[in-house]
Symmetry: D2
Subunit: 140 residues, 4 copies
């Protein structure tokens, strides 16, 4: 992990993301983290896996800490690293930073597994994003 | 239609339904109206149609007017009537009333069609909710 | 905790709750658990606290495990227990059971804090649901 | 209107946008159209209006037609034009095109009004996006 670069993904906070308390509704960060993961794995690759091989990823477990609420108009910087913890499990570490934030507003660890037809557990396929972690880190 | 009773369906407004302006986020009323329609048609019937016959309903068109914003804590009374406008089309009329509301906060007309495998247009099936409109009107 | 009864709250799974993989979209369980918590605390009480005293609850941290996917048509039984872990923190334990499920489909621990104006941390107020835990357990 | 350019806004379809029927859940197009409108008006401008002047926009009425379902992996091209129909009302015309789509998958007309404190109707403010329509049309 030590030399893995961090993947940056931007999320604009819209009306749809907030609730009446004035900040982002807490489950919505899971949407932002998933968008980042889908960008990392590649939406075209995920779409091909799903429609052609009937393979998909599912969240097995996750833990989240909320430190600060993001507000309408924020552009969050979602910073993500990941590791293959076993042949059957990927672990992603997500942190959401508000504009000029020194500390993460929200941080999350999340375990992903791979499911085939009938939701049968499969080994994690050998996808491009797993083999070129060092180079795969666009700044958006 | 003249003697059709109105179907009442209650919706509790939660944090998840609101946005940072303090009222219900406008597309969420479509969720409330759909919950009412699924209650009218019968979720078990819809589930059976989908899983066994691969038949589902889809919204073809809709128009909505927003008069007043519902807030966290409201229990909305969704009042619905419907008609079979053609062999291929159902029209639902939804009105959402806030507690003690004399006029609807939101009103909506919505056309539903029936789709089979490959999203092929099918005639509206002969479901129970279409044949016993007069008796089918529980007050919840 | 040993003699605290479990609070039951029912959630009907609608189209809005699912995603294209055929099961409930994983962050949506947080909505179901929040609806259960709001029912436990009392929506009228929460609404009064928010609109009159500008006090609200916020999720501080949570961890979730997903064992099985719920599907359209399921009625989930959300079983919840809770404890006051400190003057500033409530911990809720949620488990979502599918129809006839022997084991929970999803289980969740969640820490709640209380925030006043300017999102200042406040002691947990002395609300009714905290004082009559033994009796407060309707079967719905 | 005849010489107004069309504003293009891209929307990536994620898991969160779909439902178990395999296509985008119908109310979610309103989120996509709103993101486009917020991009047109300017999120920073909207945020400033809201936080400093307590002014916001609200949907007054809308009508939508659904022709085709978008799927996971699609990148939609949201094409928007708009007009100031009266001192108090803006009308937006949105069309969502699937990749290589010749006809819109979804089309929508939507009326926006401007609300101040206490949700009082205000004249539409003189914002930059209304004065430079001809030039304001980036291709994204």
């Amino acid at each position: 992990m030590s030399d893995q670069k961090t993947y940056h993904f931007s999320v604009q906070i819209y009306y749809e993301d907030t609730d009446h308390s004035g900040v982002v509704y807490h489950p919505n960060y899971f949407k932002f983290f998933e968008r980042a993961r889908e960008d990392i794995i590649g939406v075209a690759e995920l779409s091909r896996l799903w429609h052609e091989e009937h393979i998909g990823f599912a969240v097995y477990k996750t833990q989240v800490q909320y430190h600060q609420g993001a507000v309408f108009g924020d552009i969050l910087d979602i910073q993500t690293t990941w590791e293959k913890a076993s042949p059957y499990r990927l672990i992603f570490h997500h942190r959401a930073f508000r504009p000029n934030g020194k500390k993460p507003a929200v941080s999350c660890d999340l375990d992903l597994v791979c499911l085939g037809p009938e939701r049968k557990l499969l080994p994690i396929p050998d996808l491009p994003f797993l083999s070129d972690q060092k180079g795969h880190s666009p700044i958006k």
